[in-house]
């Protein structure tokens, strides 16, 4: 059975990145027990740096063993998650007030139909209802014919209509 090696700790190199301001690099960093820090998340800041190099100010840059480019990319992930959305209007025939739906929040037609069913509390594609969409050219088409990804590139709005009025 081994002992937890609390005696071995690593010093944090503050002067190892050229773009850190000189104020930081002149202060000697105290030796720290890294394993405790990592467990408690104490000294770890998740704030996003202004530029990728100031990361090492707040997080130990020598653990875990990650190359600088990868380390920066992962750190910047918070900034760059753009989450584009594609909100389209949805009308159900007979109901004057429509809804809006983010199509990018769905991966396929099943997911879309499920959400619409919940939104309008009805089963679509059964019981006289048909789901249609207006495409970029202004034509009204049946939902489901083209691959999902292609659908996303042409859909402008959705409509749920009664079958006997198509």
């Amino acid at each position: 059975m081994g002992k937890i090696t609390n005696s071995s700790s690593s010093s944090i190199d503050s002067s190892n990145h050229p773009s850190i301001s000189s104020a930081t690099s002149s202060l000697p960093q105290p030796k720290r027990d890294l394993s405790t820090d990592l467990r408690l998340g104490l000294s770890i800041s998740t704030s996003q740096p202004d530029d990728s190099s100031s990361n090492s100010r707040e997080q130990p840059s020598d653990w875990p063993s990650l190359k600088p480019l990868l380390r920066c990319t992962i750190a910047e992930k918070g900034n760059n998650r753009q989450h584009p959305t594609l909100f389209v209007k949805v009308y159900m025939e007979g109901i004057p007030i429509g809804r809006k739906l983010d199509l990018f929040a769905h991966n396929n037609y099943d997911s879309l139909v499920r959400t619409l069913s919940q939104m309008f509390r009805t089963t679509i594609l059964c019981n006289d209802h048909v789901l249609t969409y207006e495409d970029k050219e202004g034509d009204w088409m049946m939902v489901g014919d083209v691959p999902w990804e292609m659908f996303l590139t042409t859909v402008k709005r959705l409509k749920i209509t009664r079958a006997n009025q198509c």
Binding site: T5, S9, L69, I74, K77
Partner: protein, 573 residues
């Protein structure tokens, strides 16, 4: 004892591509030595300070391709100060005088100045291939000289370098007459590129096989580039974000369909969701997929993409793929040889990541796996033993448990038995990185079983000097040993000093070796450079006693004595 004329010998030696084979034949007799040295065109130097450029030139007068490595491996993790060394300039100056036929230069972890690149570009009329890996010290101005002056350039491959981006038009510096490019990789550049120049360059280079773009190349430009270069085999996507309903996306889908030869895909430095399906058509033939720089991809999208990649041999991903995702990999990618799983959120609390279960699933599903780098938060001996049984062919096994002294999370035992099983089962293991709670026992196993081991990385492991000695006394093929934050001291350092002359280098930081111990080593072994690196206190020579522990020590064999370009904070004993 020459039974053959030298021309015949030379012709025979031409078939020897490995450096070790050539080294061996050069030692047979004087005439073989002579023939070999005149016919060696490719030289590999694992430590640029082990030998001087002048001596290399004197021994091998007709070199056409040189590989040079500078800083020790732990420099990748900010353990080596930036100004430590590894300057390529003196090498280029020397070669400019003596190697007019130089065609290829490959540098790793070296400091490369714009001046060096300029001199390089002007000194070798036949220069064809420049590969820079993890280097620094240059800017896009240096790249502009390469582009402008290397008339027959075939390869410009920049991997993970720190490049100062001056936003110049270096891409535009390739003359219109340059049509020879086969490989262009500038993914690590951060700044804008001249998209028109890029497109024209791609259009006039019919042999272009590999193109890796940086983040500044948007989706709209991508489809134009792919349309111009449908023959590409290796693509690195830059930015992959599009507006909704964009025509660019549809055009891209068509362009991708046209690229029937693509085998390798990487990049996706910025990603919007729902875009990956454009690449499904080429997934079928993909052998290499690197999504480790794409934190913007969702777990589900990643898994859906991988389901299409049945021929994958190399996969680099982030750990949000999770164990479930790794099970999909295991059932889909039966040809997998190399897997790297990087931590998406290394400092976070542990969202969906991967565990020992994912690793076991991979080992069961992918019998050809031989190279692994795996970041995780927990591991067990049982899992490692299982992996060792399923995959006896590992050549590289690197495990990084994010909490560096974490034991087996089920039994709370150290992970000695697990790693022991790996070294015992994988007889061809050449590279090993350890992590987790480890005692001296694991080193006993390594010394006993890891006969082919060449590189060993140790962090926060071991209990006493015995651990390090098991390794030094046991692993007869050991070339590189790097240790940090482990309780090995002077006894470990000094008991088997002869070993270090059989190795390339030894790195020890935050261990228990003292200044006195290092001095003793330097005295006993004059053909080693024993470097003490101490950035905080540059007056080390005067004000410290021998009992003081050394923060960072780097020892390497050399034929040149102490180097003359060491900065103030490096003291060669």
């Amino acid at each position: 004892m020459t039974y053959f004329p030298e021309e015949v010998l030379e012709h025979v030696f031409d078939f020897l591509s490995s450096h070790r084979d050539r080294n061996a034949v050069s030692q047979v007799c004087k005439s073989w030595f002579r023939v070999e040295r005149w016919s060696r065109h490719r030289v590999f130097i694992g430590n640029c300070y082990a030998i001087s450029p002048e001596r290399v030139i004197a021994r091998f007068p007709r070199v056409r391709a040189l590989t040079l490595k500078g800083k020790p491996h732990f420099a990748d993790f900010s353990l080596v100060p930036h100004d430590w060394g590894g300057f390529v300039y003196p090498w280029i100056v020397a070669m400019a005088k003596s190697y007019p036929d130089l065609e290829e230069l490959r540098l790793k972890r070296m400091v490369v100045s714009d001046e060096s690149l300029e001199l390089l570009s002007r000194s070798f009329p036949n220069f064809q291939s420049l590969v820079l890996v993890s280097c620094e010290g240059f800017s896009t101005d240096g790249l502009a000289s390469i582009a402008a002056n290397c008339r027959v350039l075939r390869e410009l491959d920049l991997q993970e370098n720190e490049v100062e981006d001056r936003r110049g038009h270096w891409l535009g510096c390739f003359p219109d007459s340059c049509t020879s490019l086969v490989s262009l990789n500038f993914a690590c550049l951060k700044g804008e590129v001249n998209l028109g120049a890029l497109e024209r360059l791609v259009a006039r280079c019919p042999n272009l096989r590999s193109l890796r773009l940086n983040r500044a190349v948007p989706l709209e430009a991508l489809h134009k580039i792919l349309t111009r270069a449908p023959q590409l085999v290796d693509i690195g996507i830059g930015s992959y974000v599009h507006e909704s309903n964009s025509e660019a996306y549809v055009k891209l889908c068509n362009a991708v369909l046209n690229c029937k030869s693509v085998q390798s895909l990487s990049g996706f430095l910025e990603v919007a969701p729902c875009c990956l399906p454009a690449f499904y058509p080429i997934c079928l033939n993909l052998t290499s997929l690197n999504l480790s720089y794409a934190p913007g991809i969702q777990g589900n999208e990643l898994i859906n993409l991988i389901r299409h990649c049945r021929k994958l041999q190399r996969l680099w991903i982030l750990d949000y793929i999770g164990d479930k995702g790794l099970e999909v990999v295991a059932s889909t990618c039966k040809e997998l040889q190399e897997l790297r799983v990087f931590p998406y959120d290394p400092y976070g609390g542990g969202n969906a990541t991967v565990t020992e279960e994912g690793l076991v699933a991979i080992s069961m599903g992918c019998p050809k796996l031989h190279s692994l780098l795996y970041f995780c938060r927990q591991m067990t001996n049982a899992a490692l033993i299982n992996v060792a049984k399923n995959c006896p062919n590992f050549t590289r096994f690197r495990l990084c448990i994010l909490d560096p002294t974490k034991p087996d999370h089920v039994t709370l035992q150290p992970l000695d038995e697990g790693f022991g099983a790996i070294v015992q089962s994988c007889k061809g293991l050449r590279r090993l990185s350890l992590s987790g709670l480890l005692t001296d026992q694991v080193f006993l196993y390594i010394g006993m079983y890891a006969e082919r081991l060449e590189m060993l990385s140790i962090a926060f492991a071991g209990e006493s000097d015995k651990g390090m000695l098991y390794v030094l006394n046991g692993c007869k093929n050991l070339r590189k040993l790097e240790i940090r934050d482990s309780p090995f001291g002077d006894i470990a350092l000094l008991t088997n000093v002869g070993k270090y002359e059989t190795m390339r280098s030894l790195w020890m930081s935050s261990c228990d070796v003292t200044l006195g111990g290092c001095k003793a080593l330097a005295k006993k072994m004059p053909r080693l450079n024993v470097e003490i690196i101490n950035e905080k206190d540059q007056m080390m020579e005067n004000s410290h006693d021998d009992g003081e522990k050394v923060e960072k020590m780097f020892v390497y064999r050399t034929l040149c004595g102490p180097r003359r370009d060491a900065p103030d904070f490096v003291w060669t004993l």
